[in-house]
């Protein structure tokens, strides 16, 4: 190959036309990605917890006992925007997880399992906290 390209590139490097990004920048990007993923998990579990809360408010068990009309009322009152938002955040989590670090090496099933497991764990924690707050457990 020609020496021209090498000289041209080295001249640019020596003249400081191109600068090396500092190490902290890469660390910040990596930490930012992890923070984004954690936020997605947190938002997702918060949305699921909210869904559970609103479904509980409708009292689905009593509505189902009412037969067809009860079921219709139940389906009309489900928090669809929240359910949709929760699904979108879960899909987003599954989408961004392989983009972080070496996670692209994992299989699709492993990725889905990881994302779902974390969201379920966080949802259980949030729901437990909600019950604790509702029952006033923290006061004692």
């Amino acid at each position: 190959m020609n020496k021209k390209l090498e000289d041209k590139l080295m001249a640019k490097i020596k003249n400081n036309d191109v600068k090396m990004k500092p190490k902290w920048w890469f660390k910040a990007v990596k930490d930012g990605q992890i923070l984004l993923l954690t936020s997605v998990f947190a938002i997702s579990s918060l949305l699921i917890t909210s869904c559970v809360y609103f479904v509980e408010l409708i009292n689905p068990q009593s509505l189902i006992k009412m037969g067809t009309i009860g079921r219709e009322v139940l389906f009309e009152n489900l928090p669809y925007p929240l359910i949709l938002a929760a699904l979108i955040t879960i899909v987003f989590g599954v989408f961004i997880y392989p983009k972080i670090g070496d996670n692209y090496k994992k299989q699709k099933l492993q990725i889905c399992l990881f994302v779902f497991t974390w969201i379920i764990i966080l949802t259980i924690i949030l729901t437990s906290l909600r019950f604790m707050l509702e029952s006033g457990w923290f006061l004692f």
Partner: protein, 180 residues
């Protein structure tokens, strides 16, 4: 001196050592970009410059546990994709007879047939979609392992296997049509 040792020196401030990296990868990457994009030498050189400058500016982010070869090919892959986005390439077959591996003892007639076959294969490869073409080139032309291809394309090794298998199937179908 290994690539990783050179990188360590460059990161410590010995910028001149980066010339070694350029020397080692210039030809390889030029060929790779040429095979993949079929663009003019000037355009390839532009992509190549972008690759090396990007390598230099991102050098501190290189994970020393990984192979530098895979990392630089990953950057080349990104730059190629960028160039594809910037302008749709026109596919044409390049006559690079110097690349053809020939045995000295073969008869001229056999060589001609082999040349013709290689030309057909190259045409078929160049007509494949970018992802298939890239997988085939990395595996059979650049001699990269599945693990290295996985790092370059950021896919899991199983997906790489599937990609190469599909690419071979597509190539087989194209060649079948050509020979029929």
């Amino acid at each position: 001196m290994t690539d990783e040792e050179v990188i360590a020196l460059v990161c410590k401030g010995d910028r001149d050592k980066f010339a070694l990296i350029i020397e080692r990868y210039e030809d390889k990457l030029f060929r790779y970009i040429k095979r993949l994009t079929n663009q003019s030498p000037e355009d390839i050189e532009d992509i190549l410059s972008d690759v090396f400058l990007s390598v230099y500016s991102n050098l501190q982010g290189f994970d020393t546990h990984k192979k530098f070869g895979s990392w630089i090919y990953r950057i080349a892959h990104n730059k190629i994709v960028d160039s594809f986005r910037a302008k749709k390439p026109t596919f044409f077959l390049t006559e690079d007879s110097e690349e053809l591996v020939m045995s000295k003892n073969q008869l001229i007639e056999e060589l001609e047939i082999e040349k013709e076959n290689q030309k057909i294969i190259k045409t078929a490869v160049s007509e494949l979609e970018l992802k298939y073409k890239e997988a085939i080139l990395l595996c059979y032309f650049e001699d990269k392992s599945y693990n290295e291809i996985s790092d370059i394309l950021r896919l899991n090794p199983n997906q790489v296997g599937v990609l190469i298998h599909r690419a071979k199937q597509k190539l087989k179908n194209k060649l079948k049509k050509t020979y029929e």
